[in-house]
């Protein structure tokens, strides 16, 4: 499988311009990940858009690393259409302070992606213009992609366990 060549990414220039905002640079599978902090993420994204021509925020998502700490990571996939380069920016958040400034001012495409993360993980995006649930109904309680929500599989019903399975089902009976 040909791997995307990210050698054209000038890491020394990026780390030189951003200074201590970049906590760590990880390169694996031909992809570069810049790990930054919640306080500096807006600076990093703004610099990458204006200084390194990463015009498009391809994707933004969240990962739950439970039981590791810090537990959550917000992952931004940036794409430079003019330079044909990708870079990933990652911010770790702890379980007790799940909030991060919104990227919608820099990349309008972050709008729905952040709503989805809020919906499925409960991460609060400060300053987001329209932070409400997007795929789940507004009355839904909880955030289903958190690891404490089990991936339930309904037991297969046979004649010997059919009654027991039926008794556990949450529907009304007379």
């Amino acid at each position: 499988m040909p791997v995307v060549d990210s050698s054209a990414l000038d890491l020394t220039r990026i780390t030189g311009n951003l200074g201590d905002a970049i906590a760590q640079v990880v390169t694996a599978h031909g992809e570069t990940t810049l790990i930054t902090t919640r306080e500096r993420v807006i600076d990093v994204l703004a610099y990458l858009r204006d200084g390194e021509q990463f015009e498009m925020l391809t994707d933004e998502t969240c990962v739950d690393y439970y039981p590791k700490e810090p537990r959550f990571a917000i992952v931004y996939q940036l794409n430079s259409l003019s330079r044909r380069l990708r870079v990933r920016v990652k911010v770790f958040l702890t379980e007790y302070d799940k909030s991060i400034p919104t990227a919608t001012d820099i990349y309008p495409s972050a709008n729905w992606a952040e709503r989805e993360i809020y919906d499925l993980f409960g991460v609060i995006f400060e300053g987001h213009p329209d932070l409400r649930r997007i795929v789940l109904p507004a009355g839904y309680e909880g955030h289903p992609l958190l690891k404490e929500v089990p991936v339930t599989v309904e037991e297969v019903a046979f004649s010997f366990n059919r009654r027991r399975i039926d008794a556990d089902k949450p529907y009304a009976r007379e």
């Binding site: 694996a28 990962v63 259409l81 409400r132 789940l136």
Partner: protein, 426 residues
């Protein structure tokens, strides 16, 4: 003298939380619609989710001044099935059938993004024959996706015969899928490490039939629509989005190229030996409905060109990697080799483990950049699987595109950005 009874007392706001039906507070609604909606000067109109031209279950709340759209609030999630969560409970190979169900009109593109991402995490080198067969099927998938788009888009605008013609041609492509995978829509034919099996006899003839018939059929579609004054009246200059806005909203695929941005994942980040083939990327200029239509129509010709080259140069060899920790052993080996039996047993019960790490792999599906992000935890099940659905981001630009258009044009715009709600909601 008794006070005159007032005939009508104007309420402070005609909108309440209950009559908007968006599960939204009035404070939040104020940010989404103009103040005129609260005095009743403009009208809020509900479109969908059960509306034939929303291509599934998309609900739009439109603010109208007469027939002009002032603002548009998409309401999605009616088809949310929790595919990403379900992946966390499945081994890597059992996750493949789930990917078919995201963009159900282009199942093989989704398979490709997913298996490509797992292969990237495993650093697997796929045999060339498997790569070429993948290319042929991916291009057929793109044509399949575009045929459904053309059919429904034309039907929405009122050209019914195009719908019937496109569905007729789509049968030929579905026949190819049925031959190779046994299923017409939910194929799951690509596996981690290669393909489920080699192409069966009769494949070349069926593909050749597609290659022979398609050019003349494409001419028929062009005759019906390309210079049709009624079609142009409905599409030229409608739903314009500028280059800068399209990039800012994360639009990809023909919807982005219609605005004049030459970005195609097959060219920018070649995967699957796409760099072995000669093809061009059609680019529009005006960013309107007509240009997006032209881009997709030209892509039919490019897909045919790629398929023809791949069929001609299809190399011999295996279609699966020989790494037994990932690929199941051939059936005849199991009969006499103990190791093969153990590998087979381990693969179908426990599954293979993927080393800890993360990867993003994108393919150019019919709708745009379909990406897959996997965070692996070292075990046989992924920690997190996320799909970057092109329709999700293209749809996000809809309020921007439709502002100031007439309500009748809304149908044309939704058709031109080519959304599939299965992948929007996942």
């Amino acid at each position: 003298m008794a006070a005159q009874p007032t005939l009508y007392e104007a309420p402070e706001s005609v909108l309440t939380e209950s009559n908007v039906q968006l599960d939204i507070t009035i404070e939040q609604l104020k940010k989404l619609v103009s103040p005129r909606a609260f005095t009743g000067e403009t009208m809020l109109l509900n479109m969908g989710p059960q509306h034939p031209s929303t291509h599934g279950v998309l609900r739009l709340l439109l603010e109208l001044d007469g027939e002009t759209i002032i603002s548009c609030i998409p309401d999605i999630g009616f088809l949310h099935t929790g595919i990403e969560k379900t992946h966390e409970g499945k081994t890597y190979s059992k996750g493949i059938p789930l990917t078919d169900r995201t963009d159900y009109l282009a199942p093989l593109s989704n398979n490709m993004a997913y298996v490509g991402c797992v292969e990237k995490l495993l650093d697997l080198e796929i045999p060339l024959r498997a790569q070429y067969i993948r290319v042929i099927l991916l291009e057929l998938t793109r044509m399949n996706s575009h045929l459904v788009w053309l059919a429904t888009h034309a039907l929405d605008i009122g050209a019914m015969s195009v719908f019937l013609y496109c569905m007729r041609e789509r049968e030929m492509i579905l026949d190819v899928f049925e031959l190779v995978a046994g299923a017409r829509m939910m194929t799951s034919y690509f596996r981690v490490g290669g393909l489920w099996r080699d192409i069966p006899a009769g494949f070349a003839e069926l593909v050749q039939k597609v290659l022979d018939i398609f050019p003349q059929r494409l001419m028929e579609y062009e005759k019906l629509l390309k210079d049709n004054p009624m079609w142009k009246e409905r599409t030229v200059g409608i739903g314009v989005i500028s280059k800068e806005d399209a990039i800012a909203y994360g639009m990809t695929g023909p919807s982005l190229r219609g605005s004049g941005v030459n970005y195609d994942v097959r060219k920018a980040y070649p995967y699957n030996s796409y760099d072995h083939f000669e093809f061009s990327v059609p680019v529009g200029s005006n960013g309107d409905v007509y240009d997006r239509y032209r881009c997709r129509m030209e892509e039919f010709h490019q897909s045919l060109k790629i398929i023809e080259q791949a069929m001609k140069r299809l190399p011999a060899g295996p279609v699966m990697v020989d790494n037994r920790k990932v690929a199941p052993p051939p059936k005849h080996e199991i009969a006499y080799s103990m190791e093969s039996l153990i590998h087979h047993f381990k693969l179908w019960t426990e599954g293979f483990s993927v080393p800890e790490g993360e990867a993003y792999f994108a393919v150019e599906s019919g709708k745009g950049e379909f990406g897959c992000y996997i965070s692996a935890n070292g075990g046989p099940k992924p920690r997190r699987v996320h799909f970057r659905a092109p329709s999700f981001y293209n749809l996000q630009a809809l309020p921007k595109i439709s502002r100031g258009c007439l309500i009748a044009d809304m149908v044309a715009i939704i058709g031109s950005i080519d959304i599939v709600l299965g992948e929007v909601d996942r």
